[in-house]
Symmetry: C2
Subunit: 391 residues, 2 copies
């Protein structure tokens, strides 16, 4: 196990009706004037936004509003939010929505306290050291942004999708009411579940040895997702299944299951090009890329894939031919993704093999390599897209 630091100071407020306490928590973390940031009409339609506003007013907290955050959130709205916060002397950013709204809120929170262009944090020109406090009222279990210090934004100039992160971006509080996720469509729920599973697998595949505790924690989250996701797909009103998924989604990405080990975020990176080009759901893109990535890198550590196959997917170990077990685990993962309605091929996603040259180019590693488990060059990335295209 490697040395590590870990701090997840977010105050989690979990359960039915708890969004009605939003104002109490904004006050607790010294917010007096809030930017209320959200996405499209669903938080208005369901009455959630009104409940949150009432809760703020009850505590005497003022607010200004900024709606319009979309999936794969963009820089334009971030610039608008930063300007608004400065004009209105906002001292707290409240995200009401899913990962996109939260990521956009974090970008605004970082930008308000920075004299330069907020994009500097995403392009690697500046380190994130300071941000306005952020709170969240979560409406979809997926990104894990409610418990992480990470944010991903797409810059409209060139449609570059880039991430940034820092402990200062960990939300002060996050309100998780599983009932709020009951209005999320079956397809988006499955996309979210796939994203949660991916956050664990990107940590699970490691070259760090002697990490039984985090291996087991990773497996516990995926086993939970395998049990609970189909229950929600068949009955979207299943509160308890949604509750298990919602907490799993936080645990999957606040890094408690990933400390002390190298990680490998190539599946996320390779997927980002798909969702940037086709504007598909991130989770759907991951369902296509992850199994392809696994097949391509499997030989690097057959025994780790056997561990996944036996501990997570219930395969019998084939001691004479371990690679058979490893491959069976990957295939069972694909079957699981299909069973919850996810695409697992270019064809099902609506992606085109003809675009592979473009995808590889925009992945943009030039002659370099990337990856914490298996170092991939441009041609490896191409090969993974091709596996997904030939499924």
């Amino acid at each position: 196990m490697n040395n590590f630091d870990f701090c997840s100071p977010t105050y989690f407020v979990f359960g039915k009706d708890r969004e009605n306490e939003t104002g109490v928590y904004v006050k607790k973390y010294n917010g007096t004037k809030v930017l209320l940031h959200y996405g499209g009409g669903s938080v208005i339609k369901t009455g959630l936004l009104d409940r949150v506003k009432s809760s703020l007013s009850k505590e005497g907290i003022g607010y200004v509003e900024l709606g319009g955050a979309a999936p794969n959130p963009r820089s334009g709205l971030v610039y608008e939010g930063i300007k608004l916060c400065k004009e209105e002397n906002v001292d707290f950013i409240l995200a009401v929505g899913g990962g996109s709204v939260i990521d956009s809120s974090k970008a605004i929170a970082a930008g308000v306290l920075y004299d330069g262009d907020f994009w500097d944090f995403y392009s690697g020109k500046a380190a994130l050291m300071n941000a306005l406090p952020v709170g969240t009222v979560l409406t979809i279990a997926a990104a894990g942004s409610e418990g992480s210090g990470d944010t991903v934004i797409t810059h409209e100039d060139g449609m570059l999708k880039r991430g940034a992160g820092g402990d200062c971006l960990r939300p002060k509080f996050s309100i998780l009411n599983p009932a709020l996720t009951q209005t999320v469509s079956t397809y988006q729920t499955a996309c979210g579940a796939t994203d949660i599973i991916a956050h664990v697998f990107e940590r699970y595949f490691t070259n760090t040895t002697e990490v039984e505790v985090t291996d087991r924690l990773c497996e516990s989250i995926i086993l939970t997702m395998i049990k609970e996701t189909p229950r929600v797909i068949s009955n979207p009103d299943n509160y308890d299944a949604r509750a298990n998924i919602m907490w799993a989604g936080m645990v999957a990405h606040n890094n408690i299951v990933g400390v002390g080990r190298t990680q490998d975020w190539n599946s996320h990176g390779i997927e980002h090009e798909l969702s940037a080009l086709y504007d598909c759901a991130h989770g759907a893109g991951l369902a296509v890329i992850m199994p392809a990535w696994m097949k391509y890198v499997m030989k690097h550590d057959i025994m780790r894939f056997c561990q996944m196959a036996t501990r997570i997917f219930g395969c019998e170990m084939n001691f004479a031919q371990p690679e058979v077990t490893a491959l069976e685990g990957i295939n069972r993962f694909k079957q699981f993704l299909s069973s919850i309605g996810m695409p697992t091929s270019f064809r099902e996603l609506g992606a085109k093999a003809d675009d592979i040259d473009y995808l590889v180019d925009t992945f943009g590693i030039g002659d370099g390599k990337t990856g914490g488990f298996v170092q991939l060059a441009k041609e490896d990335i191409r090969a993974i897209y091709e596996i997904a295209a030939n499924e």
Copy 2:
């Protein structure tokens, strides 16, 4: 799943040599004058205390010392610590040691800011709302106090062993260097491992339904302990096994594996009377009590014990006679405890059946009942001691 709040804001500093950063973290959390609290001579003998002092001095942080905290830490030293802190204007309590030192430090931290008798928090006369900041340099994986808001103290007037807790007692930072635990004896290491496992089981046995995510997280920690503990027993210098155990010990008790479900701490309570009377190690007492408690309450929820037996202890499910599987799980748990050198009976612990009347009386529930999984009355407590006495 039940509604819950969860916040574990402690900053964890994990890995080799990291105690040399102690001063940096005391400074980060605004400590200027420290009470350096520790136990017996081992932290002096190993040079740890000197390294911590150098680290404080390097950052220009002053300190006063208070040694002498013993297992099952007592009120006398707490009163002494509170007095010393007030005289010396201490603003930060630094625990260098195991759970006993940390619990004693927390009691001092709470007492310094309280006008009354610190014991009010333990006797239930006052609620814990405020305490001096506490930091820890952990030397044994066991109590989980490094990540929890809990503390247990024994009052010398009547030898009452009582707990108190509050989020204000969660350490600001905890430094976990697994190498520091390499000097812990094999027996004490096994006692610590048993305590860690108990912290999970006390959360695992619940009447709350639909808690797959926390069930799985609980199981992941115990599976880790089952793999790693024997490795440390056979080779005390195994850093990596100790690292896995040390992190498991924190995760087992900061409550991330116990949120949203009722818990049952009767095994801890029933054990406390043993360690109070015989001054035995808490973990050794738990090894005697837990299997006895399990056998006594098994019939309350055979299927939960079957889940434990199959998922944790690798038993085959006996579908015709589930109670056979449930009992086999408990027996395998006992075998595991024996294999790491733990006593699993009164005889092996050195406890006497003749003392059962006294133990039941001091447990002190009168005509009441206690327990979150199975409500136990006085006669049930007696029956559990008798099972342990007849093993």
